[in-house]
Symmetry: C2
Subunit: 372 residues, 2 copies
């Protein structure tokens, strides 16, 4: 895979580069969203998504960002007053908890220092300390810090305690190992502009049998994000409200392309990209933000800003002189890290280009690598 | 304007046909949604939208359907328990009321027979009968029945009573006369796939000063649809959550094109299309669903199914033999009407094509026009 036709080396953790054949599909003319051809497209998309979620459940496609998907996860299974444990290792973990709180859940946060991964043991203890907790919110891959949680282990603990587990898989699913049914996940959310090589605009959400049971009695208000409406429309190959059709057109092509590459090959490629990025970053004399490399993300790498280097100056130079777009740090990490996205459409040449640009930019900005 | 390049004569009231130059923009590669070029695009879009809403307020672009926009309107100015008057002349008027109810408002409906327009006098009486009402929900153009409410007059009544007025302008704004500030509207919502010639995926929402004051104390839960977050991000040319960028790219081109045609010319063209459609429908011996032609919509025409003609058979024949897609009736109008969209990219040749197909299809299906 190559993204040479993409005019810019877009190395942010979403939106990710979209290959030309998918962009061509995105630019297709409108059709009737209640007609037979579009219904066939929705059915193809759903079947493919199920194979990537590895679930027997339906996967519903909502026209919103990943954050909209997180909101859908919360409001479809919870009621105001429900006790919720919010596991947070960064910006998006905090956001998940905030959404639940805004809708009236009684949220206890289990926060970690940014750069760390969550520990299943801590989750077990938190659930023991507060037996009334109904649901656990957890981020699989924390985009803001470049850390991947050991989701299977955390899920096991949540299953043992018989709680619901709601998962933000926005920047993991479709790129790194993930098994919704086998891991016993109850609500899973991801977004189109990450591993899927399509533009932003869609969130994909699936719910377990337990999730659907909780849905029946959940009393948080919902209309646009009502998954019951989405499930019902899906039986006709439709969405309850007019969907972002252009992104659907692209997704149809993207999923066929991903199926051709194969789930295992995709995951192997992302692992390789993650390894290569970390190796090269360290070879440049830079430091990973992730504290324990075993939890380093294979979709996004956060790098500590070296002493004396202004992150904005570095990012601007990378963009202006090397046609490469990097992400900065979010919230309290602003100015302290920069991030390199390596998910979706990415291969060695993209990382090579990025590292060459970084080496030259850092030198120009006066960075001298610490002696070993 | 012509849509000859569009492979199908898409005559549903949204999604509407998208011209090739706009589709080309929709298919453009991704960029950083937090970068300078995208910020410039957001600023261009916002400035144009203000000129079409005819407002001094900011217009915020949300990545969702028009229904998501209606939900945003409700949750940003109301609190659970607030008394609300829901004026409904069809399916979308009912939906607006339902959303408010789901979020805990105490909704009184002012329903009309479908096919009728709302009367300002009735609204005045309803507001007198229930002085505690805080807000009035009203549909400008009811897509399900092809009826346009006299919004300026209704708004005048609501202003006199000093209530908030929340307006569903999804299938009117950008096509027929509309003046947010002059009419004193408090929350206005429209959708990208209607008069704007772009694909679905975006809702545009603006709030009056009164609306923003109500926002400060409104207690319905909101996160993804929080207009405060949108307003804040807009100061940086951003959206709070990753936007449906492809549709933004298209919208940028569409708004420039609309500005070139000019608001008045666009409105005159829609008036002409509405007139032509109604004239031709009657010339075919068919009957308009709208009871009083003074309120007939200039963006969508609903036509009564003639005796003995199966609407689905007619629509299928139009699609298979005349490459023309018509809409059916929604909810209780299913099978009883069909609808012709004439908004956005439309000119005489599109209506001509539609009417020729209708004449031939009706004859083939055995329709004999009633003698005059």
């Amino acid at each position: 895979m190559t993204q040479k036709q993409n005019p810019v080396n877009l190395r942010i953790p979403g939106p990710t580069p979209v290959p030309p054949d998918i962009l061509e599909a995105v630019g297709k003319p409108m059709v009737n969203h209640r007609g037979r051809p579009f219904a066939a497209l929705v059915e193809r998309i759903t079947a493919h998504l199920k194979s990537f979620f590895i679930t027997q459940q339906e996967v519903m496609v909502l026209s919103c960002s990943g954050t909209g998907g997180l909101e859908a996860a919360v409001v479809n299974v919870l009621s105001p007053g429900d006790k919720v444990l919010g596991v947070s290792i960064g910006s998006f973990g905090n956001r998940f908890g905030t959404i639940a709180e805004i809708y009236g859940a009684d949220v206890t946060m289990l926060p970690y220092e940014w750069g760390q991964a969550a520990q299943a043991d801590d989750v077990r203890k938190a659930l023991k300390a507060e037996p009334d907790i109904r649901a656990v919110l957890v981020t699989h891959n924390e985009t803001s810090t470049g850390v991947t949680n050991a989701l299977a282990q955390i899920a096991e603990v949540v299953r043992e305690a018989d709680k619901l587990i709601l998962v933000d898989a926005v920047s993991s699913l479709g790129a790194i190992p993930f098994e919704m049914d086998a891991w016993g996940l109850d609500v899973v959310v991801t977004g189109s502009q990450k591993g899927w090589m399509v533009p932003p605009g869609l969130a994909f959400v699936a719910m377990s049998e337990r999730g659907w049971n909780a849905f029946e009695s959940a009393r948080m208000p919902r209309f646009y994000f009502d998954l019951g409406k989405h499930r019902e429309s899906l039986t006709k190959g439709q969405t309850p409200f007019t969907p972002a059709m252009s992104v659907f057109f692209g997704l149809d092509v993207a999923l066929a392309r991903m199926a051709e590459e194969g789930l295992e090959s995709i995951q192997t490629r992302h692992r390789r990209m993650g390894d290569m990025t970390r190796r090269e970053i360290k070879a440049l004399g830079l430091e990973l933000f992730c504290e324990d490399e075993r939890f380093a993300s294979d979709t996004v790498t956060a790098v500590k800003a070296p002493d004396g280097i202004d992150v904005n100056a570095l990012r601007n130079m990378m963009e202006d002189e090397h046609n490469t777009v990097l992400a900065g740090g979010q919230a309290k990490l602003s100015g302290k890290i920069f991030r390199i996205g390596h998910l979706g459409l990415v291969d060695e040449s993209d990382i090579r280009l990025t590292m060459d640009g970084l080496a030259q930019s850092l030198e120009k900005l006066g960075f001298t690598r610490p002696s070993a």
